[in-house]
């Protein structure tokens, strides 16, 4: 365990060192992300200051939904960035060199490329999130715990999804689209699921499951979550994780180590 932490730290520093070799691009990308966040934030704020309510949620609550989405999305991008660089490792065959190292390959290909600028962005997101949660009110100590627990649940789900993407990277060439569609789908979770009409809502909430990932934690925070849905979310996450780990093992058995 201690070794894994040390390796995680080392991979992260190396990834940061390498990232700063292309300074301009990295900075511009972060600026773009920040811009997108700010403009959408202003849009939602401006809109709700006029209409007061969105699907029954007031302005502060709606913003908590948006900020929670931003947070989970950001943490997912930050932690699992290396997944988006996995395909070239397969194509070149360099993945073989990782498989013979005495650590779990996920150390390197799943969480081995922390995005430094996303780390920096996490701070303002957190401040805003805490500010608006406190402003929205309507939560207790217990629901706050449930909220944090469900965010962790969402991150596990995100991880499971990224493991699935890694497996697909070994099995097929169509990986880039899978990740992009996932990003667009998850963006649909930047607003409360309640705005979507049935059957789309159920589909998005429980099957895809953007709702479990982005919306359910906030509902937990505001104490409007039934235990059924809570348990479903946790169970879904566990089953999905087990499923993607199984597929990963299958994928490793089919790995062909071409390239070079």
């Amino acid at each position: 365990m201690k070794k894994n932490f040390k390796l995680f730290w080392l991979f992260s520093t190396y990834s940061i060192k390498s990232a700063f070799q292309q300074r301009l691009g990295v900075v511009l990308f972060t600026l773009g992300k920040l811009l997108r966040f700010v403009v959408f934030f202003i849009f939602v704020y401006q809109l709700l200051s006029k209409t007061r309510f969105l699907a029954g949620y007031n302005i502060n609550q709606t913003i908590v939904f948006y900020l929670t989405y931003t947070m989970i999305d950001n943490l997912g991008q930050l932690l699992f960035r290396e997944v988006y660089r996995f395909r070239p490792l397969i194509v070149s065959g360099d993945f073989s060199g990782i498989l013979i190292k005495p650590y779990h390959p996920f150390m390197r290909i799943l969480i081995g490329g922390i995005d430094v600028l996303d780390v920096i962005l996490t701070l303002p997101y957190t401040i805003l999130l805490v500010y608006f949660i406190q402003k929205a009110g309507g939560f207790t100590f217990l629901t706050a715990i449930i909220y944090i627990g469900l965010i962790i649940n969402s991150l596990v789900l995100t991880m499971a999804f990224h493991i699935l993407v890694l497996s697909l990277g070994i099995l097929t060439t169509e990986v880039d689209h899978a990740t992009l569609i996932y990003r667009d789908l998850s963006r649909m979770g930047s607003v409360p699921m309640d705005i979507y009409k049935e059957p789309l809502r159920t589909l998005l909430t429980f099957v895809i499951p953007i709702g479990i990932m982005m919306s359910i934690p906030v509902k937990g925070l505001f104490g409007i979550l039934t235990w059924n849905v809570f348990l479903y979310s946790v169970a879904f996450c566990i089953i999905f994780l087990i499923g993607s780990l199984t597929i990963w093992k299958k994928a490793l058995m089919r790995y062909q180590s071409w390239g070079g």
Binding site: L47, K50, T51, L54, H177, I181, R187, M188, S190, I195
Partner: protein, 263 residues
Amino acid sequence: MSTFINIIDVTINQYFIYRLSFVLWRFRNFLNLLLIYFLWSGVFVGKSQIFSYTQTQLISYILIVNITGAVVLSTRTHEVAGEILSGDIINYLLKPLGYSTYLLAKELADKFLNIIFSMGELLILLVLFHPTLAIVATPQTGALFFIFLVVGLILSFHLSLLLSLVAFWTPEVWAPRFIYMVFVTFLAGNFFPLDILPKQLFEFFMFTPFPYLIYIPSKILIHGTGTNVGSMLLIALSWCLILHFMVRVVWNKGMKEFSFFGR
């Protein structure tokens, strides 16, 4: 002319090879459309009017934007960056056919396919959710819509091309384009009609080229022609000239740079 059609043909055939990519790209577009559509439908619950829009008008706006977006924004000019970086652009420059002709033909093919698909998406949405639509369909608005559509198309082509020409100087071409896309998403009117923004902000943005990409043409169909159509057209056309000039200058400078390094 026949070579022109040939290129269009080849481009469309390329899409059939990469059809999965194209279909998935449209699918992602559709997801975004759903998000915006439901966001706005949700906002109107218990309200008849927000800003200067009724629910019917705003939903119509969002759906029209999907079509205008397909006409104006779909482009292949981003590939120019790759052709510059790999040096392949030389192959085109050596051919008797002008590079611009080649680009234009590819653009047409791209737009053609995107328009077809966006129409299909609109149809799916209409069938699934039955929104009521309302547009001002007079010959006058029709004509103006068309004029601004063409202007928007010219602007978008030049902006996107300009971003690709950055490749003459640096290989990091994706970051500036990403920022451009963020601008387009919000300031071109993809997410919301721009006139819901605070007045000063809105008036400031009207001096940039972004609103003329999709917001203005779509808006004309919703609210009819306003009094200031003339001045807007003037600003938009000025941007066309400025951008065209910039593309020429940057292209010539870039080509010199290019031959200088002898890539």
